[in-house]
C-alpha cells in the first residue's frame, strides 16, 4: 500500500477524535441535559445517509449514460456506506429516545417510519446487487432501482415539516428553529469528520470492488486455459440469469 492511500483514513480518524472532543466540550443542553450530546453522532449520520443515497442515484444515472463501470462501483459503495449511516442514525435515535421521549420507537411518527422504510429499500438494493452475477446486468438493474429508491428520500427529509411529528423539526433550516452557538461549532466539526469517514469508506470500497472484478476476470481466463473453451466455470457468487 502506498503512503498516499493512508492520508484519507488517517485524516478521518484524527477528525473523528477532534469531533469527539468537541462533543464532550460542548455546553450542556438546558432541557435534555447530557442526552443531547448524542445529536453529534445522530445528526451527521442522518445527513451522510442522504448524501450517500444521492451519490448512489448519481452513480446509477451516470452509468446509464456513460456505461463506465467506475460509476457503478461508486454507486454500490455509496449505498453500502449509506445503509450503515442510516442504521447508525436509527440506533442513536432510539438510544436517545428512550430517556428523553420515554420510548424507543413510536408508531405514527413520520420521521421514524420513513427512515426505517429508507433503510429497508436500500437493504433491498444491496440484496439485488448480490443476486446478479453478470456485471453489466447488475449495473443496469441496480441503476434503475437506485432511481426508484431515491424518490422517497426527499420525503424522509421533509417528513417533519409535512406532518406534526414527535421528532423535532428541521434544526438548521427550519423556520422556527434556534440553536445556541455553543452547539453549532461542534456539530459542524462532527459533520466534517463524518463526511471524511464517508469519503474514506466509499473510496476504499470502490477500490476493493475494482480488485474483486479484476480477480474474477483473471480467474475466468485461468479456468478457460485449464478446461478449454467448451467448458464454463461454475458460478459461485449470486444466482444465474437465465438466457
Amino acid at each position: 500500500m502506498t503512503r498516499s492511500r493512508l492520508v484519507l483514513p488517517v485524516l478521518a480518524l484524527v477528525a473523528l477524535g477532534v469531533g469527539f472532543a468537541a462533543a464532550v466540550g460542548a455546553p450542556r443542553e438546558a432541557t435534555q441535559g447530557e442526552f443531547a450530546r448524542i445529536m453529534f453522532v445522530h445528526v451527521p449520520s442522518a445527513w451522510l445517509a442522504f448524501l450517500a443515497f444521492g451519490v448512489t442515484l448519481l452513480g446509477g444515472v451516470m452509468w446509464l449514460i456513460r456505461k463506465n463501470m467506475l460509476w457503478d462501483r461508486i454507486a454500490a459503495s455509496s449505498a453500502e456506506v449509506g445503509v450503515f449511516f442510516t442504521g447508525l442514525a436509527l440506533i442513536t435515535g432510539m438510544i436517545w429516545g428512550y430517556p428523553v421521549w420515554g420510548t424507543f420507537w413510536d408508531w405514527g411518527d413520520a420521521r421514524m417510519m420513513s427512515t426505517a422504510v429508507m433503510f429497508f429499500v436500500y437493504t433491498g438494493y444491496l440484496a439485488l446487487r448480490r443476486s446478479v452475477p453478470d456485471p453489466e446486468t447488475r449495473a443496469r438493474r441496480s441503476a434503475v432501482l437506485g432511481i426508484i429508491a431515491f424518490v422517497q428520500v426527499p420525503l424522509v427529509y421533509f417528513s417533519v415539516t409535512i406532518v406534526r411529528t414527535l421528532h423535532q423539526g428541521l434544526t438548521f433550516t427550519g423556520p422556527d428553529s434556534s440553536i445556541d452557538e455553543g452547539f453549532v461549532g461542534p456539530l459542524l466539526i462532527n459533520l466534517a469528520a463524518f463526511t471524511l469517514v464517508y469519503v474514506a469508506f466509499t473510496t476504499y470500497r470502490t477500490r476493493l470492488l475494482k480488485i474483486e472484478d479484476d480477480l474474477e476476470a483473471e480467474e475466468a481466463i485461468a479456468d478457460l486455459e485449464l478446461a478449454g473453451l467448451g467448458i464454463t466455470e461454475p458460478r459461485l457468487g449470486g444466482a444465474a440469469v437465465d438466457g
Binding site: 460542548a26 455546553p27 450542556r28 443542553e29 438546558a30 432541557t31 435534555q32 441535559g33 442526552f35 443531547a36 445529536m39 430517556p99 428523553v100 421521549w101 420515554g102 420510548t103 413510536d106 405514527g108 411518527d109 413520520a110 421533509f158 415539516t161 409535512i162 406532518v163 406534526r164 411529528t165 414527535l166 423535532q168 423539526g169 428541521l170 434544526t171 427550519g174 422556527d176 428553529s177 434556534s178 440553536i179 445556541d180 455553543g182 452547539f183
Partner: protein, 140 residues
C-alpha cells in the same frame, strides 16, 4: 427521451401534488396529536374510551404525584385539559415541558397510560439549572 408528452406533464403534476402535501395539505390531516383546544372543541367526536393523542405543555405547578402515577394539566394556546397518567413518567418530565399523552376522555379528565416527552428544534446551552421556557406559540 421518448414519451416526453406523457412524462413532462405527469412529473409536473407529481411535483405540484407534493408541494400541496408538503406546504399545507396533510398538516391538518395526519394529526399525530390534538392540541388541548382541538381536543375540547372535538369533545363530541370522541366518546369516553375512544383513544387519541393529546399534545401540549405541562402547566407550571400542576404536577401532583399519586399512588400509581401523576396528575397534571396540559395547556397550549390558552386552553387546558386535566390529565391523569397511570405509570411512572419519563425521567425528564417536569413543569413547562412538551408532552404527548395517549388515552381517552373519562368525563372531564383525560386518562392516559402512555406519556411521551416532545422536544422542539430549540437547543439552549446552560451552565446551571435554569428553567426551560417554551416559546409562546408551539409549532403546528
Amino acid at each position: 427521451m421518448p414519451h416526453k408528452s406523457f412524462l413532462i406533464p405527469t412529473i409536473g403534476l407529481v411535483i405540484l401534488a407534493l408541494g400541496y402535501i408538503v406546504f399545507g395539505g396533510l398538516n391538518d390531516n395526519l394529526v399525530y396529536y390534538l392540541t388541548p383546544a382541538e381536543a375540547v372543541e372535538r369533545r363530541v367526536d370522541y366518546a369516553d374510551g375512544d383513544r387519541f393523542r393529546l399534545g401540549g405543555f405541562v402547566e407550571v405547578g400542576s404536577v401532583t404525584e399519586t399512588t400509581n402515577g401523576v396528575v397534571f394539566t396540559v395547556v397550549d394556546e390558552g386552553v387546558s385539559v386535566d390529565v391523569e397518567h397511570t405509570g411512572s413518567p419519563p425521567q425528564l418530565f417536569r413543569d413547562n415541558i412538551g408532552v404527548v399523552v395517549e388515552g381517552a376522555w373519562a368525563g372531564d379528565v383525560f386518562e392516559t397510560d402512555t406519556l411521551i416527552i416532545k422536544h422542539d428544534e430549540e437547543y439552549r446551552s446552560t451552565d446551571g439549572e435554569e428553567p426551560y421556557v417554551p416559546p409562546a406559540e408551539s409549532e403546528g
